[in-house]
């Protein structure tokens, strides 16, 4: 082993130190993304503006509206006197949900006749629909079985309990906070973004400025050059990872249950895989700008398919195959398993095997191309 990789790494660090913009970006980017994703992305829909069109105006109808509001999912923003008003409010986005209580609702309930309520939901946002209808339906069901039990008890039949009950228990993220789910995954997204881009640009920059030609003529071997160029970025990757985990803990109180050393060790394979992708891009790109564009293009499927934004199981089958080839898909599972579920090595072993295989193929492809392109 020669000392040339160290010389290259030393040079790369010197250049980085002078490149304030890139340095600032590498620290600011994870923080910015963290705040953005942590605060802005909210998949648990709460506080939906709700209208009430109460044609009954009885105690029973007011009672139902009040208990809807009490769930926290619906904020009653107004009472209206007709469908026209509901339509207008939904169209303007002033309300997303409307509860319609028909006349004689209270009387029917009291008389033991079936009573119907209507829930109108703005379907232009599919996530709202599911939340809004499920919650309201659940409430109505609970209310009817309650009434049924009361009536059964009154008639003296003796079955004064619910025959079947589900008691849901949510593990690992009991409050269903988005930040808890998003922050560990964000580690993977940020690493993918910066590692791929920085490597691709670092090599493209040498090509653009003509220094690569000088290096080709020198006795430095391609592998020495690659190792030396990449090493400083591995360090940067770890710094970013630490920033996200720390800030996630301080700002969003994201727990970390598993072993930190285990995550840092496995992250090395993931970082290396991304650097290899960047290296491959650098053999294709002629300029830094092209390298940047390719990196962004690569980022998109990573965000959409890796399970970061949407559950992997929800991705259509044909798209799952390319998704499995992305290093991020596997790292996403590793980081969530370790950080949120306290998983150990044996729990993430399978994903590690995937990562190592992907890394092997990437190194093979990009080093073959890198060698060929140098000459």
């Amino acid at each position: 082993m020669s000392f040339r990789p160290f010389v290259v790494a030393w040079k790369e660090l010197l250049q980085l130190r002078r490149d304030r913009m890139t340095l600032a970006m590498m620290v600011a980017l994870p923080l910015l993304q963290l705040l953005l994703f942590g605060y802005a992305i909210n998949t648990d829909v709460r506080h939906m503006p709700t209208l009430v069109y109460d044609q009954d105006r009885s105690v029973a109808s007011r009672d139902f509206a009040a208990s809807l509001a009490a769930t926290g999912f619906y904020d009653v923003v107004g009472h209206v006197g007709g469908y026209a008003e509901i339509e207008q409010a939904l169209r303007r986005g002033q309300a997303r949900v409307a509860l319609v209580v028909p006349p004689h609702y209270g009387e029917k309930l009291a008389a033991g006749k079936p009573a119907r309520l209507q829930l109108i939901v703005d379907g232009s946002d599919p996530q709202t629909v599911a939340s809004a209808t499920n919650t309201a339906t659940g409430m109505a069901l609970a209310r009817s079985s309650e009434l049924m039990l009361q009536r059964l008890a009154a008639s003296g039949s003796g079955v004064a309990f619910q025959p079947l009950e589900i008691e849901p228990a949510t593990w690992y993220n009991p409050e269903l906070r988005t930040a808890v789910y998003v922050v560990p995954g964000l580690v993977g997204v940020i690493l993918t973004m910066t590692m791929v881009m920085l490597t691709a640009m670092a090599v493209a920059r040498e090509r653009e400025r003509g220094t690569l030609e000088q290096l080709i003529v020198s006795p430095v071997r391609p592998v020495e050059l690659v190792v030396g160029k990449i090493a400083p970025y591995v360090i940067i990757g770890y710094v970013q990872m630490t920033i996200i985990l720390l800030a996630g803990r301080l700002i969003f109180h994201v727990p970390f249950l598993g072993s930190l050393p285990l995550l840092y060790a496995l992250a090395f394979v993931f970082i290396a895989a991304n650097l290899a992708v960047g290296l491959f891009f650098s053999t294709v790109a002629r300029t830094q700008q092209q390298a940047m564009q390719m990196s962004f293009f690569f980022l998109l499927p990573n965000i959409l398919l890796s399970g970061f934004m949407f559950p992997f199981e929800g991705i259509p089958r044909p798209a799952q195959i390319p998704a499995l080839a992305l290093p991020l898909t596997h790292f996403m599972r590793i980081v969530r398993a370790i950080a949120l579920k306290g998983g150990g090595f044996e729990d993430v072993y399978g994903e590690l095997v995937w990562l190592v295989c992907i890394l092997g193929i990437l190194i093979l492809v990009s080093s073959l191309r890198f060698r060929k392109k140098l000459l």
Binding site: F3, R4, V7, K11, Q15, R18, G210, E213, P219, V220
Partner: protein, 318 residues
């Protein structure tokens, strides 16, 4: 007699059907400044790339600084310096950092590195600028840093690919002083250039055209072999006179210098005789005087002759 620093036999390189370099056989001795001349695309760079060991020849063989360019390319790379017209410097590193980097890459031992960097800074007059970022230097200074980088490991052989392109005349002159000093100390220099005054400063030259070496020798030998003679004349009707002269079979080249025409004749024909024969009556020139024939004349003549030989008869007649 020691082995030549560069020796090639029938070196050729094809790119698909295109022959970039054809059957090049050269010998360059220790301490020589060897110039390679040729129009753009003649195969100069391809030849240098093969000699540096970064491009395998399609056929033929070559030994550079005692090693086979095909099988011992790594050995060759360690013992040569290489500088291009782009002065491949890291603009965001200081002069000293650039030198240290190349010293490290070329395997100058850590203990020796500091001393070597100091020596090279001293020699190239860069001491006062050691802490300046390379990107903020002017062209002439960049060239000095590039030369300093290329010689940091004291290579016995230096390749310079158009090293003075785009550099002011004063810097060029200083650069050549450096080159001669290096050669005097035993470094062999192989360079390409488009400046003919620089070609005259080489010990020996090779003309390359369309991948083939047309002639090799000292500047005087190369010029003498073309059998050219020159004269200058003054005329008020320079354009007309030039057109008339160019139509003559014995005239190789006519060049304008204001009202002065420089005429070069072929086959040792006496230019004053040719001029007297062609320019008569109202075109009769003033002040005809002999002029020196240089490498530039030889180069232009050689390239024209080769191009004409390939071209159609129409073109040769025009």
């Amino acid at each position: 007699m020691s082995e030549p620093v560069i020796v090639t036999r029938g070196l050729s390189r094809h790119f698909g059907a295109f022959v970039a370099v054809r059957d090049v056989s050269l010998e360059v001795q220790k301490g020589e400044i060897f110039g390679v001349l040729g129009p753009n695309g003649a195969g100069k760079s391809t030849t240098i790339r093969m000699l540096c060991g970064i491009l395998d020849p399609t056929s033929g063989e070559g030994r550079v600084v005692g090693f086979d360019i095909r099988r011992e390319a790594e050995r060759v790379k360690e013992r040569i310096g290489y500088m291009t017209q782009r002065f491949s410097l890291y603009e965001d590193l200081t002069v000293e950092e650039n030198l240290k980097f190349y010293a490290g890459i070329y395997g100058v031992s850590f203990g020796r590195r500091k001393k070597r960097v100091g020596e090279v800074l001293e020699r190239t007059g860069l001491v006062g600028r050691r802490g300046q970022l390379a990107g903020t230097l002017s062209g002439g200074w960049k060239q000095r840093v590039a030369l300093a980088s290329a010689t940091i490991h004291e290579p016995p052989l230096l390749f310079l690919d158009e090293p003075t392109a785009g550099v002011d005349p004063v810097s060029r002159r200083e650069f050549w002083e450096q080159i001669h000093r290096l050669a005097h100390e035993g470094t062999t220099v192989l360079l390409t250039t488009h400046y003919m005054d620089e070609a005259e400063r080489c010990h020996r030259l090779a003309f390359i055209f369309r991948g083939s070496v047309l002639d090799v020798g000292t500047p005087d030998e190369v010029v003498a072999r073309r059998r050219l003679r020159g004269a200058e004349l003054e005329s008020d009707r320079a354009q007309e006179s030039a057109d008339r002269l160019r139509g003559d079979a014995e005239v190789d080249e006519v060049a304008h210098y204001g009202n002065v025409l420089r005429v070069v004749t072929r086959n040792d024909a006496d230019p004053s005789v040719v001029i007297a024969r062609v320019l008569t009556g109202p075109l009769a020139p003033r002040n005809v005087r002999p002029a020196r024939v240089g490498v530039e004349d030889a180069f232009v003549s050689m390239v024209r002759t080769e191009a004409d030989a390939d071209a159609s008869p129409h073109r040769a007649a025009s």
